[in-house]
């Protein structure tokens, strides 16, 4: 990875869970549980998106209660900007379940380094080299 100047960072680096990661969390994934358990003690946030949550809950409805019960998880709204970018990505071929993850994980004013997408489906992002992806085993 490139060198990162911490003095210019607005928020600390963190991750974004896509729908596959949310489903893995609901299935008892140890890595994610560890991530969230430690986050709660340090006021660190782990993000997901409105569309990722929608996709995961559509597949496993009871998951919504689990996500809602975990304070470190913050859901990024489908804002005008996110919806616009996500719609364009979907028109260009990405599955809707992954679109807002890509839109919100790109480098931005808020997160100059972007957010790292955590997923069990890294192949879904191979066409989007602009985002970082961590393969959840």
């Amino acid at each position: 990875m490139s060198e990162i100047d911490d003095s210019t960072r607005i928020y600390p680096q963190t991750v974004l869970l896509d729908s596959s990661a949310l489903l893995a969390l609901g299935a008892g994934n140890q890595w994610l549980s560890r991530l969230l358990g430690a986050a709660a003690g340090r006021d660190l946030k782990v993000f997901t998106t409105a569309l990722c949550l929608t996709a995961a809950v559509a597949e496993r409805p009871l998951l919504a209660d689990h996500i809602g019960g975990l304070a470190p998880i913050a859901v990024l709204d489908l804002t005008y900007s996110s919806a616009s970018v996500s719609g364009t990505l979907i028109a260009n071929g990405i599955n809707w379940r992954h679109a807002q993850a890509v839109a919100d994980a790109r480098p931005s004013l808020e997160w100059p380094d972007g957010l790292t997408i955590v997923t069990t489906e890294p192949q879904a992002y191979t066409a989007h080299k602009e985002v970082r992806v961590h393969h959840l085993n």
């Binding site: 680096q13 560890r34 986050a39 304070a71 890294p122 080299k129 961590h134």
Partner: protein, 82 residues
């Protein structure tokens, strides 16, 4: 701009007093006791709903994961590592 001057601008823009602004900022920042309480509740939730055997070793492993995220050593595909 000095911190006090900046706070005065922020308060004026929000039609608030500096005291109210400082209270809002303080309320949004958890104390260590509140963080400990939040972690205890999160761990309890994880044990009941996700990983029954979750323990202090898992919390320590979680700290190492965050260290790898913050230091840029978490294995990733794409982005600046591409």
């Amino acid at each position: 701009m000095q911190v006090r001057d900046r706070l005065a601008v922020l308060a004026a823009e929000r039609d608030m007093t500096m005291r109210d602004l400082l209270k809002q900022l303080a309320d949004a920042t958890p104390t260590q006791a509140e963080l400990q309480q939040r972690q205890a509740e999160t761990v309890a939730f994880i044990r009941v709903h996700l990983v029954p055997g979750f323990n202090d070793e898992d919390l320590a492993a979680g700290e190492e994961i965050w260290e790898s995220i913050h230091s840029g050593t978490l294995p990733v595909i794409g982005g600046s590592a591409a």
